[in-house]
Subunit: 375 residues, 2 copies
């Protein structure tokens, strides 16, 4: 094995689709664009493609760096590259920005071709299933009839799972990581508070804040702070910050006293500076809506009967956003249907964020799983 | 045992204190008032007094109802009364509103005697220890040298614990329920997001919103919504709300779709209509600051060496705000010091809120514990 390397400088590409895309929310996107990146080369048989699905705040930029932008490494750069677990010497890897996102694909911060103005709050609700449909059209465009694998963590894992249900013949293998078959009431509750923070920000203007020259930064900042609490485990927070006091003692002020406050404010401020509030709203709704068992009367066994892929399901011991128990629900439903599934619960202190980290056992597992895929 | 009854109509009383109260934050309250209620009668030996300490949004109104206000039952009415676990035929029970609160005791929404204007954001930071000092002065005023017991849940439990450290000779028994010896980083994180919601609300005006004729309702509402997520267990939310859809299906809207959203909005709206934002800020800070082990280099064993009371420590199995593990920290430190302590972990689905509920095993335990106290 060579020393793992970066895929190097990468250039995002854009595909425009003129055929209407019907959406689960009832609307239709008549004309839309998807931004994507690819790493490695598609083989002659077109049999080595791997789709990487992104989570709430992710994008198409999975690996490598953008020219002239130091520090612009992709969000899963530790996983994807020559000699890395998802080895680009063997696989042709695709990252695609989902509809409704804010990184270049059609979304609230792009122009509605029908009006010539920014979509804003008029961008339609999109679901995990809609994203998968759009990804399938991109696959068609790239000449990929069947993916060797689809992989994703968290909301990305929901897309990987949904691929196996919507297009069972087009997915050979699916890795569903740190994910869940649907949100719990508590998951929805956290999303709802985040949405309310944005929706009630006076700068939100019903989602048409672009026209007012403002951004609901306060709301977006609070949403991200709430998110970060759920991404880290209680243990990880205790280990990273504990009750460390910035001034060594309490100073009786609403400025930063405990280091955890500084961390949250920093993450909130940073995020509010670049992410789009309408995208945050749409994406949390897509999370809330995902529930493939719903149309089967809540029966997940029945819902997963359509899946034909070989599965890898991975959870992390301290993930309380999507706990191991939630992953096991998926595993049990697959086993009930006698599907091929490997399950690993990785012992990690980092909580939900673990799926993004370079844990040796986790990456060894993924590497072995990808190695066994014949292309 | 008689059929448990209410203490009936109760009338809050007010005590004014003109002797300066030094505060841990460095300031002094020169002149302050405490609102309190009492239930039952103080015996001739003044040996049957029980102090009930309230939590974040609680008050002096522990039991009974206020005249002309149907539905105004005290927050622990199920516990306190004739024939109830804290039996007012035996005990003289006192509820006192803490300094900085918004239910009548001196706080941000009361007049600063030095200026003749509302305190607002100028009300000094107060700590658990300050509250206990003020409660001790009220005890002096009422002729109570030593409490038969001090009891509290959550932040109230911290006060009960602190009583045994600040005034070890004045507490015979202490019940520390659903509490912790200090907040974790995650606990502080939730408080911090709640504070930021209030502090960044444009209607906050640096805490002097009274003068502007507005209230930071948006921030207070979000703070309460976040709070409610941490008061309920994941299981309790699943049982009460699950993924129940108001319209039986997804309707793709930011109005209420899932019932949990309705619950959170209702709780947030209600709270924002009556609670004071400055009090919320001060009280979450008091929570963050509480850490009796701090001045002992983090050694809780050393910190609790001063305690002389007989303890009851109670936790609830699904409480993830202050988990059973946190209560056991207190128990272990007391055992290390060979103190008298009983510990019970109550199997309850209701999460942190359990301490307020009328659970049969929990109340039987409290009743038995109070029964054994000789007055």
């Amino acid at each position: 094995m060579i020393q793992p390397q970066s895929v190097g400088i990468v250039v995002p590409q854009k595909a425009r689709f003129a055929e209407p895309l019907p959406l689960r929310s009832g609307g239709t996107l008549n004309d839309y664009e998807l931004v994507y990146e690819t790493y490695g080369a598609l083989n002659a048989a077109c049999s080595n493609a791997v789709l990487v699905c992104h989570a709430l705040s992710g994008s198409h930029h999975v690996a490598g760096t953008h020219a002239g932008e130091p520090g612009s490494s992709g969000w899963w750069d530790n996983l994807v590259g020559p000699g890395k677990p998802l080895d680009t010497r063997k696989f042709f890897v695709i990252g695609v920005n989902n509809l409704g996102s804010c990184y270049g694909s059609s979304g609230p911060n792009t122009v509605n071709p029908a009006t010539g103005r920014l979509w804003g709050a008029d961008f339609p609700f999109v679901t995990v299933e809609d994203w998968v449909d759009a990804q399938a059209r991109l696959a068609d465009r790239l000449g990929i009839e069947r993916f060797a694998a689809v992989i994703g963590g968290s909301l990305g894992g929901m897309q990987a799972l949904s691929w196996t249900l919507q297009y069972p013949d087009r997915v050979g293998n699916a890795a569903v990581i740190a994910s869940a078959p649907k949100l719990t009431a508590q998951n929805i509750a956290f999303n709802e508070v985040s949405r309310q923070a944005i929706l009630t920000d006076p700068d939100f203007h019903g989602g048409h804040y672009y026209e007012h020259g403002v951004v609901p930064e306060r709301g977006l900042r609070l949403a991200r702070m709430i998110g970060h609490i759920t991404y880290l485990s209680d243990d990880a927070m205790a280990e990273k910050f504990g009750r460390s006091l910035r001034h060594g003692k309490t100073v009786f002020s609403y400025d930063v006293e405990f280091e955890i406050e500084s961390y949250l404010r920093y993450q909130g401020d940073k995020f509010a500076g670049f992410f789009d509030a309408n995208t945050y709203l749409l994406t949390t709704k897509a999370l809330d809506y995902f529930d493939p068992a719903f149309e089967h009367g809540g029966n997940l066994n029945a819902a997963l009967a359509r899946a034909a892929a070989s599965f890898l399901v991975v959870s992390f011991s301290t993930d309380w956003r999507f706990s191991p128990e939630r992953s096991r629900e998926i595993v049990y439903a697959l086993l009930h249907n006698r599907r091929d599934v490997s399950y690993a619960e990785i012992d990690s202190a980092a909580g939900h964020d673990s799926f993004l980290l370079d844990d040796a056992r986790y990456h060894a597992l993924l590497g072995a799983w990808f190695d066994r895929i014949e292309v």
